[in-house]
């Protein structure tokens, strides 16, 4: 272990070995003892045998203790929940009654992951929003593509000190991170961005590219993207959230970054997997109803993506 790891968090468990989970696990393995709770036993076997390699923006290779059985996971101080939305409920249920001393950090898109975790235990919870991206090459190799920030903040009465400790560890591991006293402005910026971009990509089959910002012709997609973002901003305003970033500027900026990004929801659609629509667009639509704001376009896309999921089930 390196010298500059946190004095407090020595053991981390990453729950879910997808792209985001692997990026956390691979980097954190350089500064902490890292375990990974996988869904598949073969995945755990491969990690135990070969460790985990991160290429691309980083070049690290760490040893990992992995299992698909929570009873075989050693005690840990920080749990990072990095499943996909449809897998969160099951993952949180397997943690129930275990690891009472741990703090749990949720890194899922959308809103509502914290509430799902809370239903299964009294752990302090840290909320996170991550803009990292990567490509999973196989069970023991992930490529780090966008080395953008992860923002973290306290959920309910989690002490801000815990958030700062987690941020220090993540930073020491070589990832970009910012601790915030109130994460909701950032969470909502990303919620509105994702509810818009992911659903449009899922329905059109287009990666997130400059067409999402084009507003020249009547049929240009940027008009729809802009209208969806405006609906989302109206909900945030009514909910009393002052957004951390303007989602339209996030959209324009992201589409100017060069290589078009494939939103995970588009990958899910192409693989005929359940999407994260309920935790993203669904969360925005529920917030809109709670605050009495009409969001006809987000409701339309919510229904279209749900119907698309039914087309292959």
């Amino acid at each position: 272990m390196s010298q500059n790891r946190s004095d407090v968090i020595e053991r981390v468990c990453v729950i879910g070995g997808g792209v985001i989970g692997s990026l956390f696990a691979g980097h954190l393995s350089q500064v902490a003892e890292v375990s990974v709770l996988t869904r598949r036993q073969e995945h755990a076997d491969a990690l135990n045998a070969s460790g985990l390699r991160v290429s691309g923006r980083s070049d690290v290779h760490g040893s990992i203790t992995a299992s698909n059985d929570p009873a075989a996971i050693p005690p840990f101080d920080l749990g990072i929940l990095a499943t996909k939305a449809p897998g969160l409920e099951d993952a949180a249920a397997t943690l129930e009654g275990h690891f009472a001393d741990a703090t749990m950090m949720t890194t899922l898109n959308g809103l509502g992951a914290e509430e799902i975790v809370r239903q299964h235990g009294e752990w302090p919870i840290i909320s996170a929003v991550t803009f990292m991206s990567g490509t999973r090459h196989d069970d023991t190799h992930v490529e780090y593509i966008l080395d953008t920030e992860t923002w973290i903040g306290p959920y309910e009465d989690t002490p801000y000190e815990s958030v700062e400790q987690a941020a220090a560890l993540i930073r020491a591991a070589g990832l970009k991170v910012e601790a915030m006293r109130d994460l909701r402005p950032a969470q909502w910026s990303k919620l509105i961005f994702n509810a818009t971009v992911n659903a449009v990509a899922a329905l059109t089959g287009l990666p997130h590219d400059p067409r999402f910002a084009a507003e020249g012709e009547l049929t240009d997609l940027g008009h729809l993207v802009h209208d969806l973002i405006d609906e989302g901003k109206a909900v945030a305003a009514k909910a009393g959230i002052e957004l951390h970033d303007d989602p339209w500027e996030m959209n324009v900026h992201a589409t100017q970054r060069g290589a078009a990004h494939y939103p995970s929801m588009l990958e899910d659609v192409e693989a005929h997997r359940p999407t994260e629509i309920d935790l993203i667009t669904g969360a925005l639509v529920r917030e809109a109803e709670r605050h009495g704001v009409d969001v006809p376009l987000h409701k339309a896309l919510y229904r279209l993506v749900k119907a698309k999921e039914e087309s292959w089930s």
Copy 2:
């Protein structure tokens, strides 16, 4: 030729040998001299060699004169334009300067086909809306599946007598047809129905089935279908059109008919072909703008389908 053909229309040319064109050509070959202007020469060769067979709701087999060259098509009294929307402009251009004595009948979905034909000649034009459907098995065999009506009416100053003569011939050929003095109420009913059902099917991958009428849960697709139809009805009302049928009732009725229908736009999407969206949803959006009616949901679906077309081009 049978005895009960029209006294006036003796020679028919069908332009476009897809499902609808083949259904017209096969039936009309029983009561008139029928030629078919095809896109592919092999298709014409096959029709010249084997004639055209209709199975399913009918069982007829007629001889056909076919070519992909308008110069090789014998003179005709009635031309039936039955191309897909993206092929209409080219087809009308090949007719320009020919067949001055003919009356042309457009059978395409949406609005605007008549204007495209008019740009290429002064022929009298008959507007048609058809609810027939079938399956094309090969170049010389089409199966007649839904033996529903075709409605026809005059365009501009075409004499109603010509419409009645065309209706008499089509009826004599064994197809269901109704002549109307004003086709617009029927055309608009089908426009609103198609703009809604085709775009939703194209984006979700679902055939037109009972989910299009389900309005129980928040995410049920029927809510979106209903909202889209209500937007369309608002445009029709502002345009002074009293609809022939209520498009929501058409939707509910069609989804209760048993076997789910695959809208042609869904087939186009699955085959990565250009769709008819510009002549259907595009026409409705343009009418909405002309009459100052806001149609945010139809505009959203228009942009999504256009973007989907771009995803494979």
